[in-house]
């Protein structure tokens, strides 16, 4: 009886811990899940990428532009986060909005040299995702649905955001 009680308590504690880990940090909103809009673009090397071809894991889709000051603040934190969470299966996919390849390349070389970006030269893909502004971040779940969005620039390399993202990937792996 005592063993059963201990097991029950442990289970409850585990559930509470998991729920806490999944709480979105400040500025990250849980949204009603909706299918991610089409995202099929080329990167700086001309390689084509399609979001629809990447099911089964979490994807952070991040829209940015070189003229946006918060993007400049946020980009190094995304790079650091991507490095720290490389073992989780989280895919980080940047989309530059309506700038040319040279501008995007120069910006990333200065602010986040380890990151690569897709190019949305005419801004059509960005429009389809309907961000509230730039920068804009969406978290797409393993079934291709947008489940969270971030408001403005965030420090993705801080413990609250790292823990949250890690918990998402662990949750989907259970």
């Amino acid at each position: 009886m005592k063993a059963a009680q201990t097991l029950l308590l442990a289970s409850v504690l585990a559930l509470v811990t998991a729920a806490q880990a999944l709480a979105a940090p400040q500025g990250v909103l849980k949204v009603d899940p909706r299918p991610a809009p089409e995202l099929a673009l080329k990167d700086l090397d001309g390689e084509r990428y399609e979001l629809a071809d990447q099911p089964g894991h979490w994807i952070m889709v991040h829209f940015w532009a070189s003229w946006c000051p918060p993007c400049r603040e946020e980009m190094p934190t995304i790079e650091a986060m991507a490095r720290k969470l490389a073992d989780t299966g989280l895919e980080v996919r940047l989309v530059n909005t309506a700038e040319d390849a040279e501008t995007a390349f120069t910006f990333l070389a200065a602010h986040a040299p380890q990151l690569e970006t897709l190019l949305d030269p005419d801004g059509r893909v960005t429009d389809a995702w309907q961000p509230r502004g730039l920068p804009a971040t969406f978290l797409v779940g393993p079934h291709g649905r947008i489940q969270y969005m971030a408001l403005g620039g965030r420090d993705w390399d801080s413990p609250a955001y790292l823990g949250f993202l890690r918990s998402l990937t662990e949750d989907s792996g259970r």
Binding site: Q26, G27, L29, A65, W67, C68, P69, P70, R72, E73, E74, T77, T97, A98, E99, D100, T103, P121, D122, G123, R124, T126, D127, R132, G133, L134, P135, L151, G152, G153, R154, D155, S158
Partner: protein
């Protein structure tokens, strides 16, 4: 509550979508624009006057053609930042600009679309321009900032900006900044 000039606030990780840094950098040798700031009701409103030279430098650097730059130089540009520091959601209902109690003529998105269509501006440039404009209305989440440029017909009169927001409880919040000017239009 309006102050001019003010020093820029600290840049936050969750910073606004403002264009201040790059516009300051765009014309490093130009005289810094006037800045105005006020805070009330858990909101912070900041306005930076932009000179035609600053605006031209910014959009030239983004590949805008000469004809488009000429149109941009004709308008009065303000970079506006509104930061919701409250823990509730707010509806930003409208911006108003008044000189001697009369509303000023705006240069809204529809106006610019007409200009860009007439000039055959590329879709990419139109997209960039659109993202640099301030939304006219917006539901602001807790801690959410919103920022961008607001454009007006040029005027030499000082004017007042009024931002009006509504809470979920239907209370109306109003912020005012006085003595704003269209920069670089003296004489």
């Amino acid at each position: 509550m309006s102050t001019r000039p003010t020093s820029p606030p600290p840049i936050l990780a969750a910073a606004c979508l403002g264009l201040s840094v790059m516009l300051h950098a765009a014309v490093a040798t130009a005289q810094l624009p006037e800045e105005h700031e006020t805070g009330n009701h858990g909101l912070r409103l900041r306005v930076m006057e932009r000179t035609p030279a600053q605006i031209a430098a910014f959009y030239e650097a983004r590949g805008f053609p000469e004809q488009a730059i000429a149109r941009l130089r004709e308008a009065c540009f303000l970079t506006v930042t509104l930061d919701n520091q409250r823990d509730d959601r707010l509806a930003l209902e409208r911006w108003r600009f008044l000189a001697n109690g009369e509303p000023l003529e705006r240069r809204d998105r529809a106006y610019w679309q007409t200009q860009w269509q007439a000039l055959g501006l590329s879709r990419g440039s139109r997209a960039t321009f659109g993202w640099t404009l301030m939304p006219e209305s917006r539901e602001l989440y807790p801690t959410e900032p919103v920022a961008g440029n607001i454009t007006l017909a040029p005027t030499r009169q000082p004017f007042t900006l009024v931002a009006r927001l509504r809470t979920a409880a239907d209370d109306v919040l109003s912020l005012r900044l006085r003595d704003i000017e269209c920069a670089g239009r003296e004489g």
